[in-house]
Symmetry: C2
Subunit: 352 residues, 2 copies
Amino acid sequence: MKNSASEKKPKDTTKPRAHQTSSLKQLAEHLGLNPATVSVVLNDVPGRSIPQATRDRIKAAAKAMNYQPNLLARSLRSRRTLTIGILVPELGDGYHTEVMSGIGDQLIQAGYFYFTAHHRHKRNLIEDYTRMLIGRGAQGLIAIDTLLDHPVSIPVVAVAGHRHIEGITNVLLDHARAAELALGHLYSLGHRMIAFMRGQPFSSDSDDRWKSLVGVAERLGLEIKPELVVSLDRDMTSPELGYPVVQQLLATKKAFTAIVAFNDISAIGAIRALKDFNLRVPEDISVIGFDDIKAAAFTSPRLTTINQPLEEIGRLATQSLLNRIHNTVPPRDEITVEPELVIRESTGPVKS
Amino acid sequence: MKNSASEKKPKDTTKPRAHQTSSLKQLAEHLGLNPATVSVVLNDVPGRSIPQATRDRIKAAAKAMNYQPNLLARSLRSRRTLTIGILVPELGDGYHTEVMSGIGDQLIQAGYFYFTAHHRHKRNLIEDYTRMLIGRGAQGLIAIDTLLDHPVSIPVVAVAGHRHIEGITNVLLDHARAAELALGHLYSLGHRMIAFMRGQPFSSDSDDRWKSLVGVAERLGLEIKPELVVSLDRDMTSPELGYPVVQQLLATKKAFTAIVAFNDISAIGAIRALKDFNLRVPEDISVIGFDDIKAAAFTSPRLTTINQPLEEIGRLATQSLLNRIHNTVPPRDEITVEPELVIRESTGPVKS
DNA sequence: ATCAATCAGGAAAACGATTGCCGAGAAATT
DNA sequence: AATTTCTCGGCAATCGTTTTCCTGATTGAT
């Protein structure tokens, strides 16, 4: 209010209204010190000689005046924004959000915040958002199930990225092992006529998972019949995903005794479709999912599935990204996590 | 274009490596113009006379050099960060993420980005994050299922907030109507002995929903037996939530013919518990959920539930927040959305 | 008593934009 | 021909920090 230059009144700098944040300059002026000094003290910059008395005085005043450093200004100068960007195809999906949950925990703990951008697998959006995130000062990126196609100027960790791009760390599941577990399980239950659901072409796990399954099938001497393979194509995250393809499969009247679903979500849709066709799971058809999302243990029947440690994946990705940002350890370009077979009720022995 | 000050080498200012972003100053220098002018053109500042030729030249160069304005710098000066903060109790939950999905769409469309912070209903975290978000320049806040307790210095819209706080807009469901739909449905199916699941005390919908149910029960002449009321207490977002309380209910051996679950997630848990007790749904016990999350249509049995337009809620909240930020329309302090009864398979007539 | 070393803190230049104001030429008006 | 009005664009301040370099005063050593 009163202007700055005039002198008469003591002014009310002494009465710092709570929840009214003040700037470094104001604080310095109030203390009769230079902003630089105040900054140095408040940041505990090492190698500066400031007597304890002054330090205390500054810190007290900062508290009293409710000084909140302006992060924008700070970041502009110091190049550290404590912010990263997360690229994700879709909000509100089990898989992605569980990973994000792991990421969020870890980041916040490290004092970082994050921007999220969802691109629905649109190439141009992926590009745009990458740029925008960098423009907003993101110091690193975590790309979940997102196909990046060129190197980026800041550290990137891809979750389920499946491309080897210069300088990008990949966190991914041991797909070979996962396929082995899934197919091995069905095989040992006697299943030989197995139907497969392939993921959407734009989902980055699709290909690897499929190749691994093909590999394992071969080793087991299991024939994969093309007419028993259906492909997901819709871009959605509800069980609706798996429903129509199974209907379509059933419509062909080809015999099969088990389905390997692309993930749990689609497995739930698949089961629904089977039931609507008056087939029992697992008595008539076994279904195995993938991911082990939280709901998997509570469906009817409870889902047999391959567990991916989703939150753990998020945490690993984050840790790895932070390491890159801080240059603490030499970056690895691949981090693999192990799947686990979780046997519940949706699979059973083949009818004899 | 050769460089300005030094002379020897041609230097590579002419070879703007793609995906290497350049600053306004560099761009201006390259153009032989003042940064201010470039800024003016790029932002289409009205009331400045710059010939079209120059404008084109600038825009072309900006594209060629892959100029990306530094949002931090811009925001510092202009006080507009195009950023808002979202407070949410938990990541990776159906309800919250569906709302966030609506928010995200709407925000990104408006050129905004957002920080997300999850607080797991911890009071102090809510406070801390609110402050930190403001410190990072958030121009507004959306608080989902989050109990704020004092006014905040920036615009806030609460989703399922249920508190009237000075200046905070609430977006909420018409709970009275929802209760009417849910209870009315069961009542009309002949149910009189109905069990209830109350939400967790820290979930902000809990109280309103409960009060509405009590109100409707009264009007219907339906007695709510205290021993048929169980309360959720765990802070989680998997169906596990509803499982133990229903077990506990069953253990008391009190007779009931229907359960009003707190939400779909807990309804799924409840159904699982009932089935594990050898009760059929809906033949023995009817279960009605709340929210109509995407999976609700695919469970076995498919869930009868009260639909809340979650994405719509997110969109409305966002729109309302942006309006406040831009001061376009006078703020409303409450926005109500209407629920809808979705009858599927988990409810049926009471056995005669 | 002198010189060097330490102490305590100030001055100013960044960081990368935005924005109000101003001025020199060109064009238009009298 | 002299004045006014546009045009086009430059100048410099500013946003709130951080950081590098300095300097004037003390202190300690010889």
